[in-house]
């Protein structure tokens, strides 16, 4: 930059002004500086700028696992949303493991960025104090965890209730629940379970715990395993609600292996609306949680906290509405 200044016959300050296009620079001067920059092939040093400014222009996104389609699609959208605002995203994978989630909150790597968008899985009530971090943080999930942190949440209860009501409306009475694990707290799992139970209650149905297939991780494999356990127990089942799509897809695979027809014998529904569900056989009924809006809202909230004049109160919560997507897996047969 010093060289550029010399060549253009101006001071470093002026070059800096041009590069950051400050308002008060004479057109002639600017042209001269730009020419010099071009001639010397000058490129700004970000480390120096970051040191001086005290900011990095990067944010961290922490998700359980990138290979889970929901988080891959979410990350995609967060990257795009951040890019629109001139920010770069650094992706962190926690595996949904409690210890590693806490670690992310205070890790060195996190400190290389200006803020964090965090999609936790294993965080518990007792972890609330750990969320008292000294940097901009936006949580993806329910607000129950901590009052002063920005939250972006999806309509977990309402969505699960809607899809369950849909199953009931299709005449199903013995609905298996795949994926439930920790009923306490405000995890997506417990909230969706809540919505599920609400719908059953409203229809005067009781949920037989034997029709619950637990799954610590939410993957196709664990969904398949849970489905197998339920079928092996010999309990009557005429529908399956997977707490997310991959669980449902894993379950559906097992139904196929056991020679059960979907939806004729057993209807299946999931949650998340990942792309696979549109092409599976049969295609999967699900809840579209508004992934795009979530990503955008999260980045917006973080940008707001990063700005020097935040508009949002601490602990702002944005709830994104859901949409029920009915497909073949709960259809009339095919």
């Amino acid at each position: 930059m010093r060289d550029v200044a010399r060549l253009a016959g101006v001071s470093v300050k002026t070059v800096s002004n041009v590069v950051n296009d400050f308002p008060h620079v004479r057109a002639a001067t600017r042209t001269r500086v730009l020419a010099a920059i071009d001639e010397l092939g000058y490129q700004m040093n970000f480390s120096a700028r970051n040191l001086s400014r005290g900011r990095t222009g990067m944010i961290t996104l922490a998700v359980p696992e990138l290979k889970l389609p929901y988080f891959a699609e979410l990350t995609d959208e967060v990257i795009v949303a951040a890019a629109e605002r001139g920010y770069t995203v650094l992706v962190e994978q926690t595996g949904g493991v409690h210890e590693r989630e806490l670690e992310v909150l205070s890790s060195d790597r996190r400190r290389m960025t200006d803020g964090l968008v965090f999609s936790p899985l294993g965080l518990r009530q007792g972890d609330a104090p750990r969320l008292e971090v000294g940097y901009p943080l936006v949580l993806l999930g329910e607000r129950a965890l901590h009052g002063d942190v920005h939250h972006v949440s999806m309509a977990n209860v309402a969505g699960a209730r809607a899809v369950t009501e849909h199953l009931i409306g299709r005449g199903r009475r013995n609905i298996a629940l795949i994926g439930s694990y920790d009923e306490r707290g405000a995890s997506a799992g417990s909230l969706r379970t809540q919505g599920f139970l609400d719908a059953l209650g409203a229809a005067d149905l009781r949920h037989d715990p034997a029709r619950t297939g637990h799954a610590l991780e939410w993957t196709r494999t664990t969904g398949a395993d849970a489905m197998r356990r339920i079928l092996d127990a010999g309990i009557e089942v005429d529908a399956v609600f997977g707490l997310n799509d991959v669980l449902a897809l894993g379950a559906m695979r097992v139904l196929f292996e056991r020679g059960l027809r979907v939806p004729d014998d057993i209807a299946v529904a999931g949650f998340d609306d990942i792309e696979d569900g549109r092409f599976s056989r049969p295609s999967l009924t699900t809840v579209q949680p508004g992934r795009g809006e979530i990503a955008r809202a999260a980045v917006d909230l973080l940008m707001d906290r990063l700005s020097d004049a935040p508009r949002h109160e601490p602990g702002t919560e944005v709830v994104v509405p859901h949409r029920l997507v009915v497909r073949e897996s709960t259809g009339q047969g095919y």
Copy 2:
């Protein structure tokens, strides 16, 4: 850090030495410094370190799209491999668009990191000069593009040939090819197409171009579209080779919609071994390209180029072996 030094009664340099655990620090001094660090809750400023060291400890990974399962899984593994070596990954999405791929090579965002692992899609022969970048670069794909750049490639030709031979071995003679688009160059598409044609040639079979379903993007949607076009043309087909798994899954979905049985009427195979293929109905025969090894090799090569004493020659190529994975979609029926 200055405060820490003062509290510990040592110089800044000594604190720096302790933090970077340099060899020559007396144990007593180290303890004292660590105590001071702890008491003051000192945390190092990365921007300052980066400026001083001239490195950032971050690398960029550029992929077409994160929501494509193959790249999601690849990114996952690259992040893990980089983390093992103390590096953080910054993910860039090119959409596979030529212009944006060129842009990534010289973008400001790229310059925030020490190097680039790049998985191009639309890069052409003529772009070779653009790969003459002044920073460590590792390309994922064939070496044809540029001689002096490190490459990590999968066994595209051999893998495609193996899976095609498998289809022929199952008695299939009229194999449709889904996804071929640009036959020139050394893209994954043209190489896999090559392997496909090699296998046919070796079996004295000819490929009817009418059985080729072009697809610019490789997604489930484009795979489905291509399959529809082939079926609508009324050409005889007893097998389908999707140039990757999502194309094959999209095609399989269409076969299902048309009432064709897989594999009885039409066998289907793909390439990539993404997780979906293990749970699809039927499960998908495919080629496992060694994704984990690719990620690790790429990061290793980049680390080597980043080190002050590189062991590898410029233009080193690592070829990762493939493995054929036979599943239901080419089985004996089910």
